[in-house]
Amino acid sequence: MKRLFVCALLCGVLTSCSRTRAPEARIGSKKFTESVLLGEIARVLAEQTGAKVEHRREIGGSRVLWDALRGDEIDCYPEYSGTLLKEILGGAQPKNPAELDALLAKHGVRAGKPLGFDNTYAIGMQEPKAAALNLHTISDLAKHRELRFGMTSEFMDRADGWPGLARRYGLQPKEVRGLEHDLAYRALAQGTLDVTDLYSTDADIEYYKLRVLDDDLHYFPEYQALFLYREKFVQDHPDIHEAIERLAGKLDAVSMRKLNADVKLRTRPEATVAAEFARRAFGAHTTVREPTRLERLVQRTVEHVGLTAWSLLAAILVAVPLGIAAARRRGLAQVILAVSSVLQTIPSLALLVFMIPLFGIGEAPAIAALFLYSLLPIVRNTHSGLTGIDRGLLESAEVLGLPAGARLRLIELPLASPSILAGIKTAAVINVGTATLGALIGAGGYGQPILTGIRLNDQGLILEGAIPAALLALCCQWAFDFAERYIVPRGLR
């Protein structure tokens, strides 16, 4: 047990050391290419002031970013006016910019000026299919209930998304499903989907030769791209704010689509594309140094092991005593086992998102969620290990005259150790897999390349996350098999 503790501690120290001095500006971006590009451009511009800038890429969707901004986890991020009004501010209709500013000020947020392009939602189909059915407007879709709709998961639930769209146009398709935005294009191309939502600046529209259906009932509002800032940040760092705002009015839809195409279709790194743009448009100089595959791997490994080790360590420290308590009192056992079982049934993605209001974004909420997931296997195995001990042995120990504490330490825990260790092993292996989802809320780890790989349709990048994750799970298994030799008493092996 001691060795395990030391291992976990080492991992934690390693991850802590990897952090250096705090950045003066923290820019966030959503998990799609355009947002990452805007974040990168903002980073380059901000760096021109000499400040240390961190770009926390691909943290999540609008809600996650908005909460992160208000929660002082990031200082600014690129947003769209339509999303801001409809989704974030709940359908507010400010009459003039001053009114909007007042609304945002209540949240401690300030909006920048529009960047110069409108990335509205649009509805698209494969050109041949649309031509065959003679579809030109979204209204035309209402007559074809047989068409298979596949909408971006976020779009499915948004106030300005699918529910409102379906109501406005009277759309009642037989099949609507939610999926990743970048996968939707591929599904459309493969013919497994007929209709999907698009961002009008997506490079894929041209690439896949999609027909954009006319929003004839004017459902979609304007989606002017702009940066949202934390008010306090603007006050503390007016120079950085000003540097990023240089982008206002300088990026039109054509340029944006071209930048998107550079990344998505020509598979060039966002940082490079953004740096080139900043140099062309602003004469901004930056050294783009893409980390090598090995460097990326090392960083991801440190992050992933950190997530897994800290959450597992915390779970051991909490779950073993809980398991012991459960084994002592039958009434308590039912409560403890029921609660930890319920925790296990919460979908991992949901659990991660639940943690954001409590812990912000990044490692902390991911560790908290993984911790909760690890409880059940350890509690249950500790409980069953202890309650499974032969009653004769327990009574022998008691009659021998050993007090309760000594019985637990000298007899019960050693006898239950194979079961407890098996529980910890299960938790660890599950943790390694589940931790890949941490990337969805900015926790990094092996999930990051998987997520980016899905976005860029880059199988190599996906494998760069998936293979190490699988290997780490195996290593975990071996490490525990090895540890068993030291922890489980010889007489029980």
């Binding site: 009574e395 009659v399 021998l400 005259g401 050993l402 000298l410 006898l415 007489g491």
Partner: protein, 250 residues
């Protein structure tokens, strides 16, 4: 002296003990005999403080066994169950040394005491380093006895100590045990369902049925003047003719 004074114990609907009184004089060996469920193990559990009587009292050398006194009294008892009740994660030595170590005995003293008892129990030296699962049934039982005798208790409680052994091992251990009981002059209470064993060990035999002591006496007394029909049937069913005669110590 071990006194069981009008003890009753109920587990839910089951009356495990009904007004049981029993007395084992210091240095004597008493045997409790009866079918399973007759309450004989419950008596041992009352003596060791694993359960407490609903009515009546258990006293050892005048001290009542109660929750607050039981821990200290347990150090004066040795308890052996079937198969020895050895802890599988400890070697024979580890099992025997467990309690002494906990009480802070130094290693040399523990070693000396185990060696003494090992000789007394005629246990091969190599067995001390073995884990219980690698020992024979007889060896496990001998180690269980060493562990029980470690602190030199005044009272020995044996619950079916020879029940799981093959006949030859069993008779060897029986002979050894009897010699040890009389040599160490312990107060001993043995629970068994085997009449010949009871007759061989016991200064007296108490026959139990349905939570009551039906009769108490030597095998001769039980045979000559059975208290009721059940005693006669019980004795006949166990072929007392082939059992060794009890040796009267008193």
């Amino acid at each position: 002296m071990l006194e069981i004074d009008a003890v009753s114990k109920r587990f839910g609907a089951l009356e495990a003990l009904r007004n049981v009184s029993l007395c084992v004089e210091s240095g004597q060996t008493g045997c409790l005999i009866g079918e399973s469920g007759s309450g004989k193990s419950t008596i041992l559990r009352c003596i060791t403080g694993l359960v407490y009587p609903d009515r009546g009292a258990v006293k050892f050398e005048g001290a009542p066994i109660e929750p607050k006194s039981v821990q200290a009294l347990r150090l004066r008892m040795g308890y052996v169950i079937q198969e020895g009740g050895l802890f599988p994660h400890l070697t024979a030595y580890g099992n025997a040394a467990l309690m002494a170590k906990h009480l802070g005995w130094d290693d040399a003293r523990i070693k000396r005491r185990i060696e003494e008892l090992r000789t007394l129990m005629r246990l091969p030296e190599a067995t001390l380093e073995r884990y219980p699962r690698l020992m024979s049934g007889g060896q496990r039982q001998r180690v269980g006895l060493i562990r029980a005798l470690m602190l030199d208790p005044e009272l020995l409680l044996l619950d079916e100590p020879l029940g799981a052994l093959d006949p030859i091992t069993r008779s060897e251990l029986q002979t050894d045990l009897k010699a040890i009981f009389s040599e160490l002059k312990k107060t001993v209470l043995v629970v068994t369902h085997d009449l010949s064993e009871a007759a061989f060990f016991g200064d007296f035999i108490a026959v139990m049925r349905e939570g009551r002591v039906l009769q108490q006496g030597t095998l001769d007394e039980l045979t000559r003047a059975p208290a009721d029909e059940y005693i006669t049937r019980f004795i006949q069913s166990q072929h007392p003719a082939v059992a060794p005669r009890p040796e009267q110590v008193s």
